[in-house]
Symmetry: C2
Subunit: 322 residues, 2 copies
């Protein structure tokens, strides 16, 4: 009954490569009942969207949400979208192409729909209701499979032309360097994403089978971004080198954005950011040592996200709380 | 008499390392009578500012400008400034340090004064009255001794915290690469400024004395950024390699900013931009060949400045036409 009394709700939906999660969100950024559905590989894009429409309609009925109280549905989507016409131009993760998802979901639910890039959604969520709420200008970086980015200028999301900006992972920091998934060589993402750290960890394991990297990976059951950090904590020299290199890549990338935006804060999220202060304190130290990118200029707060996996849902819903 | 009838004028001043130039500017961005004074090496910062105050007061008297018709004085200054308190924190070019120039010029002229970084002034001028006036979101890069940058978001200048952002030349594009004047290694400026091209030209001349580079330099009377382009036009292979490399550095740097901002346009100015379409057509071609930074996304217009050396004066004055 409390829910029905809420006057301003929006549905925030976070579409991922393997599952779709959503919730009703209050205008204060509170997450109410959640729903989720799997994304089955091989299903057509139309089937996935029609399934999503059904899930949303069932959810609204089940929780007795009055559609008159729902301002709309925000969809956070990985990949390249065109916000001006509500179309997913191309999503590598989902194998979607030229999908008019906004119109489809509007027709299927009878509610207004807006779409947003997933990294922008997470950034907007953190800026409105999370770690970024006390800052006017900030950037957010998600250090996961890739590096997602978001930009807040004067409290508002800056998405670039047709919503195709803020690709903060796809900036070359090493000309002719490591191949990036985007086609360019030497992108920030190819050095400071979890995927890049895993690549470097595997290389190091092959070169140094005597290191503790293998032992740690066996304990964790897989080679992920934690292996290097865990090995370093055990005093392993190879782990230490991997982490030091990672700190350098991340810090140099951050300082690039400090010089470009001179924001008040950068919010880090995603797998690698889970290392928390163990990583962040060293990144701050590295930046502090630099002449131009940090020292002698207004400090940039380097912090981690507060909303975690909810940031995307909250940010997508928040498109209706502007 | 025409001048006195203008109701809204502002004085725009462009402070450089060797001279200071200024003019009364109309609210339509028209440059009226100009003034200039040399900056003598060795003069104290206080002396330079006091001389400037005298020059401005004399100028107003000489041209019979009524101070009541002057909205204020905008000062474009190279280096690191703090717009919140009107102080030049540090200017390498001018050897200025912690100089409260805004307060000094206000007291000395009795007019309101605002200060702005010189690259930001040029950008604001182009955005308001020059090549950028039909765009809402754009960046500007000045390819000179260094690389200056400016950012326009939604028609407004974005300066970053305390006016210290938009340092678009000081972004690392080649980790551990060429030493940059800022202290970092591998900055965009260390590859795509006129200074960088001159460095590379000198290296090439030493390696290949048989090339036409030396002949061209002798004709021009000095080794500047034009030597490589001129030699290439004469069919010289070394000149061709230098220009091809320069096109690559500039294009990769531009694509970085395309991915970050996805602006509608980038405006290029400064010495190297004087090569005009000879350079720009090849930069566009290079960007077009790339998968991610240009093709498949909204095109970014790559254009040159319209206001030339007036852009800084006009932009500084335009701070009073907001």
């Amino acid at each position: 009954m409390v829910i029905i009394m809420e006057k301003k709700l929006a549905i925030g939906v976070d579409i991922g490569g393997t599952s779709i999660k959503g919730a009703a969100i209050t205008s204060e950024g509170k997450v109410l009942d959640v729903f989720s559905m799997p994304v089955i590989k091989g299903d057509s894009q139309e089937k996935v969207v029609n399934d999503l429409i059904k899930v949303i309609n069932d959810y609204l009925k089940e929780h007795q949400y009055d559609k008159d109280n729902i301002l709309g549905i925000g969809l956070g989507i990985p990949g390249s979208i065109d916000t001006s016409i509500g179309v997913v131009t191309y999503s590598n993760n989902l194998c979607w192409n030229e999908l008019p998802i906004q119109e489809m979901v509007e027709k299927g639910t009878g509610l207004p729909v807006r779409i947003i890039n997933d990294a922008n959604a997470a950034t907007y969520g953190e800026a409105k209701f999370g770690a970024g709420k006390k800052y006017k200008n900030l950037i957010m970086l998600t250090l996961g499979t890739g590096i997602g980015g978001g930009i807040i200028i004067n409290g508002e999301l800056y998405e670039g032309n047709l919503g195709k900006g803020a690709e903060l992972g796809h900036v070359i920091m090493k000309l002719d360097g490591e191949q990036c998934s985007c086609g360019r060589k030497g992108c920030f993402e190819a050095y400071a994403s979890a995927t890049a750290l895993i690549r470097d960890t595997k290389k190091m394991m092959e070169l140094h089978p005597e290191s503790k990297l293998g032992e740690v990976a066996r304990k964790l059951g897989k080679i992920d971004a934690r292996v290097a950090f865990e090995a370093e904590r055990l005093g392993d020299e190879c782990g230490h080198i991997l982490v030091e290199n990672y700190v350098k890549y991340l810090s140099e990338g951050l300082m690039n954005y400090f010089n470009i935006f001179r924001p008040e804060a950068v919010v880090l999220s995603g797998g690698v950011a889970n290392e928390g202060e163990y990583l962040l304190s060293r990144v701050r130290e590295y930046c502090e040592r630099e002449h131009y990118g940090y020292g002698g200029t207004p400090k940039v707060d380097i912090i981690t996200s507060e909303l975690g996996y909810d940031s995307g849902k909250i940010g997508a819903a928040a498109l209706f709380f502007k």
